[in-house]
């Protein structure tokens, strides 16, 4: 990865700076997407879990996150957090974007935005009932011992990278923008935390209606907009492959929205706005690992399949009795696995699609089962590692500071009890004022 000379490419750098800002916007967008889905009494806490992750991960990433994920002193599983602690010693020549002439600090901020949203995504499974302090402690530990190693393994030259063990023994797994690192990872962690926390009081019996569907749609729109930076930015350059990733991010998402709505219409009798917003996110999740690596037909098929599978998967929580409140499992875990595995069918170099050397064409493009096998191994590693280590972190927090608020707080509303605020004024909430200064 280290290069002898660094030649700045201002076009690529301009795009990567822009893409970083786009991806950063996804986390506030996610706050609206999730915030609209909970009840009025917990919307602020829901949004604060995203904003809290943004604050904490943004700092940790600069101190040791980037170094441990993308430093040059790593083994197959993790890098050295102290190599570039505080980014000291990091030069343009030894960053992951050196080859496209993008300065190291731009690489750091782009990757920071990925780490931030991955942590924030998990919060959807633990709505209404998690202590904010426990969430923040969890976020810092999880980033360090789950996100960072997986990012290193897949993108930092580790075990699942194009030069790693899986590539040498089967085929190089393709994860262009984060199907395993971001979505399977967050989805498996969400499932683990939901199981540890237990169900909310009244889960499956009392109605828990989304309190603001326009917020949900606004959030989905912001996510989609930012996702162009996420997927097309993962090319690290302003070129044709970025264009392919951009186009796939649009068309797969459009198709997923349509198939989610059709599934709902057939099953429930209505095509809903929540379904449209959910279908958009399911499509975005599924196309993420495949964004560069499928042609137009592959993208449409992949998005369409993801829309149907995710729309069906969100019902699993009622069947199995785990309270994945806002469907992190149904959308991100299932969508991430779907996209990751379908690469094994659709990967190609047709129509300007691209995948790294060491990977191969998918089953439907004459490549046989090898790529599908590599994709399955990559998905399995991410699910297993994330789930097991998240359980361990969650258990440690549960035994020490506690994970869950009291039932009284849950019923009366976590916003008021934990944050000392309410989102909306009602006649009953009129107040008198006192200044603490």
């Amino acid at each position: 990865m280290a290069m002898s000379e660094f030649a700045l490419d201002s076009g690529n750098t301009a795009w990567m700076l822009t893409a970083s800002a786009l991806v950063l916007l996804m986390t506030p967008g996610l706050a609206f997407f999730y915030g609209g889905m909970v009840r009025t009494k917990s919307v602020l806490n829901m949004m604060m879990m995203s904003f809290g992750a943004l604050g904490l991960v943004g700092v940790i990433w600069i101190l040791w996150g980037y170094s441990a994920a993308f430093g040059t002193q790593g083994n197959a599983f993790v890098g050295n957090p102290f190599q570039y602690f505080g980014l000291v010693g990091l030069t343009d020549q030894n960053s992951i974007m050196a080859a496209s002439g993008v300065p190291a600090l731009v690489a750091v901020v782009f990757q920071a935005t990925f780490a931030i949203i991955t942590v924030a995504l998990i919060s959807g499974s633990i709505a209404d009932r998690t202590k904010f302090s426990a969430w923040m402690v969890f976020a810092g530990i999880w980033l360090t011992i789950v996100y960072v190693p997986i990012a290193h393994m897949v993108w930092g030259g580790g075990f699942e990278s194009p030069t790693g063990w899986v590539a040498q023994h089967i085929s190089a797994p393709i994860d262009f923008a984060g199907g395993t690192v971001v979505h399977i990872n967050a989805g498996a962690a969400g499932l683990a935390l939901a199981l540890l926390l237990g169900v909310r009081k009244g889960f499956g019996k009392e109605p828990m209606r989304p309190h603001n569907l326009p917020f949900v749609m606004l959030g989905a729109a912001l996510l989609w907009f930012g996702w162009f930076g996420f997927n097309a930015g993962s090319e690290f350059a302003a070129d044709g492959v970025a264009g392919r990733a951009w186009l796939n991010t649009m068309v797969a998402t459009c198709m997923a929205m349509l198939t989610w709505l059709a599934t709902e219409k057939i099953r429930d009798g209505h095509a809903t706005s929540l379904g449209a917003a959910s279908g958009v996110v399911a499509g975005l999740v599924a196309i993420t690992p495949a964004a560069s690596a499928v042609d137009s037909f592959g993208a449409i098929a992949l998005g369409g399949i993801a829309g149907i599978l995710c729309a069906l998967a969100i019902g699993l929580k009622y069947k199995f009795g785990y309270d994945d409140s806002l469907d992190v499992v149904g959308v991100h875990l299932v969508g991430g696995i779907t996209g990751t595995l379908l690469i094994g069918f659709f990967a190609t170099h047709h129509q300007g699609a691209w995948y790294p050397a060491g990977a191969g064409d998918g089953l439907l493009y004459g490549g046989g089962f090898k790529q599908l096998g590599a994709q399955a191994v990559a998905a399995l590693i991410a699910v297993t590692y994330s789930f097991v280590v998240t359980i361990l972190i969650g258990l440690a927090i549960k035994k020490t500071m506690g994970l869950r608020t009291s039932e009284e707080v849950e019923v009366s509303g976590i916003d008021l009890a934990i944050h000392g605020e309410t989102a909306y004024e009602t006649i009953g909430s009129r107040a008198t004022m006192e200044v603490n200064a």
Binding site: P207, R209, E264, D268, T272, I314, Y318
Partner: protein, 112 residues
Amino acid sequence: MKLVTGIIQPHRLDEVKAALEAAGVHGITVSEASGYGRQRGHTEVYRGAEYTVDLVPKVRVEVLVTAEEAPRVTDAIIGAAQTGKIGDGKVWTVAVEDVVRVRTGEHGPEAL
């Protein structure tokens, strides 16, 4: 004196207001209400989870009148609110002991 209260479909409010004006009523009080009668509620579906919403939005119209005017006012509300479908609502009349106009302190029929 009587208090005539009508629970009506929200979309009939303009017609009821016009009919009460035509019947010579000077003041009414309108508030949002929710409830159900034979109509029951409706169902909503969120990500496949079906919720039954029992309470249906309604509008409550209240009119203070003299005893002689009460039947005419009741008829005016019914005439304007009726669509013939389940959920049209109800109108009832109760006796009122006293009424005071806050601005002047007048009591009884003068306060109407």
